[in-house]
Amino acid sequence: MSIQAEASRPAMPSAPNGLNGRTLGSALQAFGQTLIVPILSILTALIAGAILILLAGRDPVAAYQALIDGALLEPRGLIQSLLKTSPLILSGLAVGFAFKGGLFNIGAQGQLIMGSVAAAWIGATDLGVPIWLHITLAFGAGALIGAIWGGIPGALKAYYGANEVITTIMFNFIASRVAEWLISNGSTDGRIRPGPLTDPNSGAVQRSRPVLENARLPVVFDYPPPADPLNVGIFIAVAAAIIVLIIVNRTTFGFELRMVGQNPNAARYAGVNVPRQTMLTMAIAGALAGMAGVIQTLGVNGYYEANQSLGLGFDSITVSLLAANHPIGIIFSAFLFGALEQGSTRMQRTGVAPELVVLVQALILMFIAAPQIIQYIYRVRVGSTGGQRLSSSWGQK
């Protein structure tokens, strides 16, 4: 590693008490500074999206109107947006928490799938326990399998030098295949048996047995059908964000996490067990994503279905980066993405393909990652940016 790269690393993180020696005014000003880039990035991406809608010969005003109507202004749409927000908060935290520790967790997708499957398994089994215990057990199982799914790539990185970017992507594929097998119908001649979770009554559709009423997340706001009721998932997700914030900023573990993230060599000299820290960081990230899957199964679907949350893992990368990996910021960026996702189905009625939302999200990520572009377009001064290097090694310890 060159001296130049060493020098460009940021200094040691500030001690847990972050506001020391700064007035409230300068803190607010700094807060405004950090919001400029995300807000302008979202705005610019939406303008670029409007141009693409025009290119396809549709009306951007009508399309965005429908998007907002479908996502925010109707009670049914707003509930759906919030239901889509809850797993995004948790999977966004899974990415952001790993980022804080200098790790790139592209594996939220797979960790989430395994969490969903575990919840479907526990949720469909009659345990003869009260509802609170049943739900807790499902969350425990989802978090545990998620932690294993994240912890293995973490351990392989820490002790064998396998780059976590590719191993977590591979674990995504492995999770998809394992889940497909669990709900597969087997062969028609009966030589290959159906998967252990397959619902025998679902016919050609491959999905798991339905979750028992005794394991569905409690409803907090009911709305007449065909709308889904709002369940406690969103509160669990927000609570998780606050807990992650406290862990990162107020505990020794969080301090060591940030130290490893910003300068692993300095952390090693300071006596931090870097490999152990790496493994634990990925395991906790995996547990968070696993819980996102639990909410998806117990709160929304009521069963596990193949490809039910396709792309959620990649969305969570953008969700986390948009919030500069800040746990509370992730709540808001997850809501933005949940609302975009929900609104895109209504927007489709105006003739605009829902993939437009993916394009807008990609552009947001680009502007966030290269704020110089925003700086150039709007002639604004942006604070010191980025600088975190993640891709320093391939297959090296």
Partner: protein
């Protein structure tokens, strides 16, 4: 071994070649980029771009009254133009990755993620499910042996392949010569190991990186073009299905050497083809559990259980040229 078994063996070999072509080209794309110290996890997106643009151009030129400069388009011209435009646009995606990594010093992994998301979004947005084409690239040499000849199965493996398949193996040889036998290749390896030293000796680091990223994009694009214009024949959303990422693992497996990557790609192609030929091999195993083999092997390879690989020393770091 009975004749039935031999048929299955040759069918697996044939499927192995088909499956490994995109992996070989994807791995070459990775080598071109990573040897010049730019990590490229955007291969998946560049593949998808090549697949989509090549296919869409083919569709556009397949219409009844399609014409270029007032001349009707022959089948050969249509396919050649489609391939070239697919390569050009995916090459531009490579340059785009370069601008983010070199000009804006974006983390290479994040830039690659942007490339992947943009490609997935754009190809999905502009995808037309009703598109019609006049067809795909024909086979170059047809099987010379008749149906009941004992060499027929060997012919199935060697012939009945499109031009891109043969070009792929030539590219591997050319890449090996390029990296280890040419000045351009020597300079590329030098900026992968120590750009400061190369810069001091007068190598234009940025220009070389941009050139190689254009090359990298085109190689990934050729893999995509192969999928839509030679192998499958149509475009589907997200059809690369992780091949770009497996190609990266293949590249690491081959220790950033074209010949090593070729071997790795054939191994992975074999694993991928086994699942489609499973029932013919008479194995009673759920196919999903066989389908995860390539991914498990990738993890094992990355963990260094088959020998530790050493990447180019300066990989993943941005470089500031002298005098700035």
């Amino acid at each position: 071994m009975s004749t039935i078994d031999l048929v299955v063996v040759f069918a697996v070999l044939n499927a192995t070649i088909r499956q490994s072509i995109p992996l070989i080209l994807g791995a070459m794309s990775g080598i071109a980029s990573e040897r010049s110290s730019i990590v490229n996890i955007g291969i998946e997106g560049m593949m998808l771009t090549g697949a989509f643009v090549g296919y869409t151009t083919n569709v556009a030129l397949s219409g009844e009254d399609a014409a270029i400069l007032g001349m009707a388009v022959s089948d050969d011209a249509r396919l050649i133009i489609s391939v070239l435009i697919g390569l050009l646009v995916s090459g531009l995606m490579g340059l785009f990755h370069g601008v983010l990594c070199i000009q804006y010093k974006v983390d290479h992994i994040i830039s690659g993620t942007v490339v992947n998301l943009l490609a997935a979004g754009a190809t999905g947005y502009f995808y037309d499910a009703n598109a019609q084409t006049k067809g795909k690239i024909p086979n170059l040499i047809s099987n010379p042996w008749p149906r009941d000849h004992f060499l027929r199965d060997v012919g199935v493996v060697l012939f009945d392949k499109d031009l891109i398949t043969y070009i792929t193996f030539i590219i591997v040889a050319l890449m090996t010569f390029w990296l280890f036998g040419s000045v351009w290749g020597l300079r590329t390896r030098s900026i992968g190991e120590n750009p400061r030293a190369a810069d001091t000796l007068g190598v234009n680091v940025y220009r070389l990186q941009y050139t190689n990223l254009f090359l990298s994009g085109m190689l990934a694009g050729l893999a995509g073009v192969y999928l839509t214009l030679a192998d499958v024949g149509i475009f589907e959303r997200g059809m690369t299905a992780g091949k770009g990422f497996i190609a990266l693992a293949v590249m690491i497996f081959g220790k950033w050497h074209p010949m090593g990557a070729l071997g790795g790609a054939l191994l992975f192609g074999l694993l991928l083809s086994l699942q489609s030929q499973l029932q013919f091999l008479g194995l009673v195993v759920p196919q999903q559990l066989v389908a995860l083999l390539p991914y498990v092997v990738t993890v094992v390879v990355l963990a260094g259980f088959v020998g530790q690989a050493r990447p180019p020393a300066h990989i993943g770091q941005s470089y500031e040229v002298e005098g700035h």
